[in-house]
Symmetry: C2
Subunit: 416 residues, 2 copies
């Protein structure tokens, strides 16, 4: 249908012409003025306390203590059960968050500006690996790290970014793809490239060398530091693609640990949801599938822009990490995702596949027609609150989301 082709071409143009730049780190309350006291933004489509999974409940309790709304985790849980907090999806506030995705007024958020369209997107700073709030961790070590991010690291990163013109992300990610990153479960190259870009300004604007040394060690000690930047970039790229009448391209995929939700350009901000699936993956020593929480987080925004599972061919080393077969199998994931996407991104290409562009622009019609659901590379949280990451794996977006979306989309373009 010509109308759909035209709308999808426009949507793809907006994706490919985006110009995302990391420009600042500021308090969330400043970035998102509507983010009020006792409001907690979470990953995925809307979910209330009763339906929240274990790690998200753990993170809610932890962030309430961090914000000073509760004296301890027990009080925080009681308050949550009594309706003291206003739970809202990050996606409704120009934001994204990995795994549990807690965003509250007292945290600092990174700011990515899409200079082509003028919109901004926000995400908290990646905390590191292991026992961290995004995987449901909430003990003193977790909260102390969040305080340091708020009081020291976030302000330092903000000063560094404001001293220059920001860090353009499109070319940095292109480079990362030539260095084995897929920007979801492997961000080691982009983390290094971001450190190279930021370190001189971090030094030039530092208060003291001891704090600076700690900040540089924090970035260098966390191979996933760039993940949250990639996510913010993804949100900044996809937001201008929302609401193009007649477009069947996906603008967001996200999970709250209970439901998986997608949004489609032509159907606006409606979420089409289905129960989340369980990742198939590899577990850290001492953990098994029985410990795993189902799929969670806003991080699937990176697959929505052609990275993560879609760019697996760029990252043969990640295939082993997520249990996706041999290194040379990695290319098959990328090729399969080419079956359900509008086209390739010529600026984000994979040297080892003779510069094939990453498959970009998920078309819900192709997903339903081929029966191929998007492949997602994901971390795996423990199903109980307070424990943290237990593994990493591959998961499929539930087909039911796409079937429901296709029905609504068909109605929106006047097809029975």
């Amino acid at each position: 249908m010509q109308r759909i082709d035209d709308a999808n071409r426009q949507a793809m143009d907006r994706i490919l012409s985006a110009d995302p730049v990391l420009v600042d780190v500021i308090p969330a309350a400043e970035a998102i003025p509507t983010l009020q006291d006792r409001m907690i933004l979470h990953a995925g489509p809307p979910v209330d306390w009763e339906r929240m999974c274990g790690p998200m409940r753990g993170a809610v309790a932890g962030i309430a203590v961090f914000e000073g709304w509760a004296a301890d985790l027990q009080e925080a849980e009681a308050m949550a059960g009594a309706g003291a907090f206003d739970f809202q999806p990050n996606h409704h506030f120009d934001a994204v968050g990995p795994m549990t995705g807690m965003t509250t007024a007292g945290q600092w958020v990174m700011v990515v500006e899409n200079r082509r369209f003028g919109n901004r997107a926000y995400c908290t700073i990646n905390e590191g690996l292991g026992k961290v709030m995004r995987f449901g961790g909430n003990d003193a070590e977790v909260l102390d790290r969040l305080r340091w991010l708020r009081d020291s690291f976030g302000p330092a990163m903000g000063r560094a970014l404001r001293s220059g013109d920001g860090v353009p992300l499109k070319s940095l990610v292109a480079r990362g793809l030539s260095m084995g990153d897929e920007m979801h479960q492997r961000n080691v190259a982009c983390t290094g490239l971001m450190l190279r870009a930021l370190a001189p300004a971090l030094a030039a604007t530092a208060d003291d060398t001891a704090g600076l040394s700690k900040a540089l060690a924090f970035i260098g000690g966390n191979d996933q530091f760039f993940l949250n930047i990639a996510m913010t970039m993804g949100k900044a790229i996809m937001d201008p693609v929302r609401g193009i009448d007649g477009s069947s391209l996906v603008t967001a995929m996200s999970r709250n640990g209970t439901d998986f939700g997608i949004r489609v350009s032509g159907t606006g901000d409606t979420w089409f949801t289905a129960p989340v699936e369980m990742p198939e993956g590899l577990y850290f020593p001492g953990f098994t599938e029985a410990d795993a929480n189902p799929d969670m987080g806003d991080s699937t925004i990176v697959e929505t822009i052609g990275l993560g599972g879609f760019a697996m061919g760029a990252a043969p080393a990640v295939a082993g990490f997520v249990g996706a077969g041999s290194a040379s199998d990695a290319a098959n994931f990328t090729r399969a995702m080419g079956e359900i996407t509008y086209g390739d991104n010529p600026e984000w290409s994979i040297p080892g596949l003779d510069y094939l562009g990453v498959p970009t622009g998920i078309d819900i019609r192709l997903v339903v027609e081929t029966g191929l659901a998007p492949t997602i590379n994901t971390g795996i949280a423990h199903r109980e609150p307070g424990i943290g990451q237990v593994g990493a794996g591959v998961v499929r977006a539930p087909m039911a989301c796409f079937e429901a979306a296709l029905q609504a989309f068909a109605a929106s373009v006047g097809v029975a």
Copy 2:
């Protein structure tokens, strides 16, 4: 022959069990006490002023001015022609140097210690790209940068390294191979990994944040920063492999821009030389093959340990840069080098080739038998002094070196 097999097994064991660690940056005069005033160490086998190529003459003139031995380049050239300088190969002083490879008492050198065998190797700090002394540059900008490396950057890097236990290089290079580096013409990943390792200590031991910021920007602004570290590592790994009676493995390959030379374990420190070949490559805008100097530098030590052209399969992006065909052709170079090497290095593997180890331990018998000369990824210098880098390409080690070495080796093991 059992004796040769046993000797080669021992040589390979020494290569694979090496434990190279970047431990310090100190004045060359301190690192190499025999490095006297008016002595100039150069790349490759021995060469005198009369037979030196243009860029090496340019570098000699520049370094003489830098050291204060001559007032200007003209005086320096006249002095060189009159025999005022003692020219010696880096390799005779536990050192290596890229391209022209100038090492003199007043420069600072990086120190790599092979903790398995206790030996140390030395190399100057990489100056960056374009008009630099290693490519024959010698103007005020080039000399000013060398002074800054001596007066500020070198001492800062030394302080940082001495504040910790050094940076182990074996695991860092393993990681770099999974990130698209081959450690000769592509060092972007390892440069980032080294920055991550060094930045916290650079900050903690910094005199002032402005100098620190400049140092961090210098590392981050030079994708080839790690090359000289990889070379020092190569020298530290291969030196303990020298002089194993009956071993036919190559311990050094090196070029001075006039001659290519190799050393073989069983024949000790004898150089087997032949005229250097011209690289086939790609040229920077404004330059052509007519501008190119023949092959030059000690950097072929990285091919001697299985990296560079031997690890091309790890770096599909470099294949285009050096004009070695399509990205997917890169694997063929690595597989071909497997025909002339003793074995694979299981700790340095290539994810995209299903974790094939890099081909390691060049056996002169296999080179002559197969007619396959080692593949080298190299930078290309302008043939005139004072200009700098004009391109990058691939070159073969001259077969005549291996034929001459094989004759001497055969005699050493009592074969006619």
